[in-house]
Symmetry: C2
Subunit: 425 residues, 2 copies
Amino acid sequence: MTIGGQFPMHQKQVFCSSKCQIFYSDDPFMVSRASMQYLFDEHGNQFLDCISNVQHVGHCHPKVVEAISKQLATSTCNVRFVSTQLTELSEANDLALRLGRDYTKHKDAIVIEHAYHGHVTTTMELSPYKFDHGSSVSQPDWVHVAPCPDVFRGKHRLEDNELTDEEKLYAAGKQYSDDVKSILDDVESKKRGVAAYFAEALQSCGGQVIPPKDYFKDVATHVRNHGGLMIIDEVQTGFGRIGRKYWAHQLYDDGFVPDIVTMGKPMGNGFPVSAVATRKEIADALGGEVGYFNTYGGNPVACAAVISVMKVVKEENLLEHSQAMGEKLEVALRDLQKKHECIGDIRGVGLFWGIDLVKDRKTREPDQKLAIATILALRKSFGILLNADGPYTNILKIKPPLCFNSDNILETVTAVDQVLTLMNR
Amino acid sequence: MTIGGQFPMHQKQVFCSSKCQIFYSDDPFMVSRASMQYLFDEHGNQFLDCISNVQHVGHCHPKVVEAISKQLATSTCNVRFVSTQLTELSEANDLALRLGRDYTKHKDAIVIEHAYHGHVTTTMELSPYKFDHGSSVSQPDWVHVAPCPDVFRGKHRLEDNELTDEEKLYAAGKQYSDDVKSILDDVESKKRGVAAYFAEALQSCGGQVIPPKDYFKDVATHVRNHGGLMIIDEVQTGFGRIGRKYWAHQLYDDGFVPDIVTMGKPMGNGFPVSAVATRKEIADALGGEVGYFNTYGGNPVACAAVISVMKVVKEENLLEHSQAMGEKLEVALRDLQKKHECIGDIRGVGLFWGIDLVKDRKTREPDQKLAIATILALRKSFGILLNADGPYTNILKIKPPLCFNSDNILETVTAVDQVLTLMNR
């Protein structure tokens, strides 16, 4: 990058900091080209992509490329002439917290164990995924961490007993929401106030977790009783990823409505864009005397990207497709679980799934080593890119672009089957 | 925006928060199309744009559009496969602060009066432009504010005395850098430590301020003596805006080299992108155990945008052009100042200029009302878009795309002349 002028500090080389995270760090994957659910390496080899939830409707989807290119050639400029509330990435969560604070006049926030809400300083302070794992950003006194509503490995689990599965899920929902209530009472007793409860609709990096029934609904009652707002991060889960519903917080049809929703990644299909949606009275409470301004806020190219993504989701019936693929994945993964002792749990909906690998089904001890060996073998021998995540890096995550089809599912599940069989697990 | 699916919270309408800043708020300007230094309103009327420093080499410059569109159709995806340190917008300043803190193990920062470094929570905490003007974000204990090195309206001014102009500028540089030294001594006496001195190379929103001679060089000596780093924000001033030099901090050829440089806006010509440049040992100190990750970091579309902007700057000799236009502007504005008592000061370099409007040349009292009336008249009667800024909103800012030419200068200066004459000032 020395074209046209020198970079500052007389540096001749551009280096990558040792602290930049890359996948496959021992043998980085170089993307030369991408198309729908496929990536091509520098030699032109095709790989099936089970990772890229950002390129929501398919890498370089022609309709999205056309819409963005057309707008790029027309105007890129908002220059404060027209402005919506579009913002970028973790800035959406930063702005949501400010909205919550300015509206409630409280300062504190409740987040979920293992949560990740973005990489700027304030959102890292909201992210136990970062501050519990050796980051130089530490947990501030205004952040309170609630147990992760994970019924497989969390504090309250679905155990073998006389209850039906449905009854167990309601019971766990109550237990986890009561934990949030205890935090609220505790915060109030210290003469502090909670501005917002902040959670992903389905926890993603934190382990592909689907909260039990009535959890959000009951948490909302407690939080609102204490004057706080419900902020739901749909950055990874919105725009039809979960099938049937446009937003993951609508999963249970229980009438739960958040006060603020943040969204990002998939909405631009790779174009940097995010947004905060809220009620007018909350938006109007922002910022005291000074207004809100963001150089790229309302950028018409970003808007063109978002509108084209939403059109493609509709025109290609991607909600129905995602729902149908989720049902196929569930059947295939249940069969896989029967065959392999190392699969402790499978959980998911639509095109958002986790395969929880364990050393022992009874103790549920996570098997990170197996997960990492599996993703390396999938890349090397099968041309499949899949990621391992979760607090113990033992969960195989499947969240591909929504054009992922039945053949891709068969190919992926068969490959995982063969890898686990070869590893004798 | 109801295409393809419902937005959350059952909202049928998209509204703009009353807290969103827009120009010409009583009669918003709707951009239908943009090309090089011109904007077109919804009726197709052409306006000369003196505002858009983001669209650095010209709105929708065909080479930049082509490069971005081509990359959009090839791959948008970094997915951590390849990664550089590209980040977005005010996230660059947030990351720079984290780098400074992690490297020095200090927490505090020194910023300049009226400074603006971005709109996320942490960068607002670094911005007196926000926290001194009624924002709900207030000045934290770790932020210390140094006087703005403005020799026209600041604490130490160039007054009429026996010294030469050059001698006055060196004297003011020493006075302002000594002010920073006092803050450093004071912070140290309180057993705190300064991680970084944080300043724009030329203060932009804060009033188009050009610091006096040796100011940064002397500040750097003091800051480094106290174990801190020099972070220079080139977001508004880099990539040849100031003519002759690629970066504004190189203006005085005094050998000053920052430890960290942040850049944004112009580098993508409207595509959202920014970057942090630093030395390897500082980058490697980031973040403790966890790495750095950003969804759009190293986004190849952003890289294509930046590379094409740098190519255009080189191929079209925009440094030389900006330098030449700056010299023409200086001559024309000096003439204008002789004619109009209300012009207290003109200052600038390259295509970065300020016209400081005053009620009285002796007292230098800022004339906000005149500045606002002027920009409205320029739009209405001359088709020229120009902005007023600075802590008292009395400074006419000229920082157009770099393709701004001699005819545009003549047109703009003539129009300002006529408006001020009509207003009898």
